[in-house]
């Protein structure tokens, strides 16, 4: 056997091993999703979506949970997106060289890696107690906003960095000031990347339970939230509480809850991909 043959065999072997690994991952995912779907799908109907949780599994629904999740997501986005983008712009376009920015930048990267429960404790101290927001949606959303801010800031910076400097030069050269250059040129050119970062960050927030437990999301609730100051629960917490129930019927409710949660995630990601493609088609270097 020549060494070329050997190499070819190695090459092929690696291809198959890699393929096997990919399929293994996909296979597990399909089994998991299949299992969830088979268990939960029968549960999903208008009643399930419009009922409150109950000690009787047949009647138990996720009305407060899915509305709570949407509320939390909306509020978190409203808080985190403007602050995150503004901070990203500040770091990348204004404070590039300052010592302060350097120092903050290093710490920002660290912040993105802090376990989420720590954010929960921070939120408990600042929002629940000091600012007296109580165990409201607002406390939860502020806490999650803190959690995803570093991700948004870092990804915004990356997106801004990808805009070639020649564009800024052209804009300055025509008498634009820094803000006009950012607003009219840099932001539109980097919108695809910024949106992607935001969606990734929000996707992370959807699944977070630990910090919300700490800042007081309830598991059993008899009201749907109607303002940022309402008490609330969210889907992951509802699912978690059902999984712990002895009655097997609740396992079905949990599976159905997971399906709804996945749907929300997919829709969000779908929107993100759509927006990104739209922007990216316009902007190609």
């Amino acid at each position: 056997m020549t060494s070329a043959d050997k190499n070819r065999i190695k090459d092929k072997a690696f291809e198959y091993v890699g393929m096997a690994c990919t399929f293994f991952g996909l296979f597990m995912l399909v089994i998991f999703l299949g299992d969830i779907l088979m268990t939960g799908i029968e549960k999903i109907d208008m009643d399930f979506l419009s009922n409150f949780p109950s000690s009787r599994a047949r009647k138990a629904g996720i009305y407060p949970a899915w509305t709570g999740t949407l509320w939390i997501l909306g509020l978190t986005a409203i808080i985190a997106i403007p602050i995150g983008i503004a901070a990203g712009i500040y770091f990348e376009e204004y404070a590039k060289k300052s010592k302060m920015a350097n120092f903050l930048e290093i710490n920002l990267a660290n912040l993105a890696g802090v376990p989420s429960i720590i954010y929960g404790l921070l939120g408990l101290q600042i929002f629940v107690r000091t600012l007296n927001f109580g165990t409201s949606l607002l406390s939860g959303a502020c806490t999650l906003a803190l959690l995803i801010l570093p991700v948004i800031i870092v990804s915004t910076r990356e997106a801004l960095k990808a805009v070639p400097d020649s564009i800024r030069q052209a804009s300055y050269g025509m008498g634009a000031n820094t803000w006009q250059t950012i607003w009219h040129q840099v932001l539109p050119a980097s919108a695809g990347g910024i949106i992607t970062g935001i969606i990734l960050a929000i996707s992370r927030a959807i699944g977070e339970t630990a910090p919300l437990i700490v800042v007081g999301a309830a598991t059993f609730i008899t009201n749907v939230p109607d303002s940022p100051m309402s008490d609330y629960t969210v889907l992951p917490m509802q699912i978690y509480s059902w999984i712990g129930m002895p009655d097997k019927e609740f396992a079905k409710s949990a599976a159905a809850g997971i399906i709804v949660l996945l749907l929300i995630t997919f829709v969000l990601n779908g929107i993100a991909v759509f927006l990104r493609n739209r922007w990216q088609k316009k902007v190609k270097w």
């Binding site: 060289k97 070639p164 020649s166 564009i167 030069q169 052209a170 804009s171 300055y172 050269g173 025509m174 008498g175 634009a176 000031n177 006009q180 009219h184 040129q185 539109p188 050119a189 316009k282 902007v283 190609k284 270097w285």
Partner: protein, 257 residues
């Protein structure tokens, strides 16, 4: 070279020294440029031509470690004074860069950008200006059917003429061009050169080039730089046929560079 009266001087550098950090890139440069002429800056690469060009619209302000001594005078005003607003200055001084850098937007939006950032909303005025500028830069006939097309879909030569149109839309009186044709094919280069020749009627043009023939073809005066020194500045004819300095002679005849 004739002495210019104060009124005739459009651009002037007086005892200009420029540093990037500790490194000096321009050494005691003095020059006076007459209105409605084309002036070519020539010299080996790295000798400071771009740096010098960019002092006239203060584009060096963004470079870390940039520092200058001496004065730059535009239309009789010291442009590095505190009270000067660079945005106003740059409306008066258009710039065209070495590599075409249209905005990733439509042709129309590219040319209209200068008006937009000035807060001009009058649609008719904007449309007229766009058309006029594209005609001036000899691009109109090629793009008039689809102004909504992305500027990035144009050829390199067209993009560069678009960048010129974009600068002209602000009705500047001065055009700074940093090797505007160096990234282009010969046909596009010829078009740009013709264009510069046309524009000379209305604008004061300073063009950096390291193409000797180009400098010879299009400029009235030529300044030869070498390692941060302005070695010789004279009428182009004189520089190319009978320069005073041996170093200029050597460069022109291609003995180094």
């Amino acid at each position: 070279m004739e002495k210019l009266s104060i009124k005739e001087k459009k651009l002037e550098a007086i005892n200009l020294n420029v540093f990037y950090g500790a490194k000096q890139v321009l050494k005691d440069v003095n020059i006076a440029i007459k209105a409605n002429t084309v002036t070519a800056f020539i010299g080996p690469s790295g000798c400071g031509k771009s740096t010098f060009l960019r002092t006239f619209n203060r584009m060096n302000d963004y470079v870390e470690g940039f520092r200058k001594e001496g004065d730059i005078i535009v239309d009789g005003k010291d442009i590095y004074q505190k009270m000067i607003r660079v945005e106003e200055l740059r409306k008066k001084i258009g710039m065209v860069f070495q590599k075409p850098n249209p905005f990733p937007k439509s042709i129309f939006e590219n040319v209209a950008y200068g008006l937009k950032i000035q807060g001009i909303k009058n649609k008719k005025l904007i449309e007229e200006t766009v058309e006029k500028s594209l005609k001036q830069s000899a691009l109109w006939d090629e793009v008039k059917d689809d102004l909504k097309k992305s500027a990035l879909s144009l050829s390199g030569g067209q993009q560069q003429r678009l960048c010129i149109a974009r600068a002209l839309a602000l009705e500047p009186s001065i055009l700074l061009m940093d090797e505007p044709a160096s990234a282009l094919d010969p046909i596009s280069t010829a078009k740009i050169e013709d264009l510069i020749w046309e524009l000379k009627q209305k604008y004061t043009i300073v063009i950096v080039t390291h193409n000797m023939q180009q400098a010879g073809r299009i400029s009235d005066n030529t300044a030869f730089f070498y390692m941060g020194d302005l070695v010789e500045y004279d009428e182009t004819k004189k520089i190319f046929t009978n320069p005073e300095k041996e170093r200029t002679q050597n460069y022109i005849t291609g003995r180094f560079g």
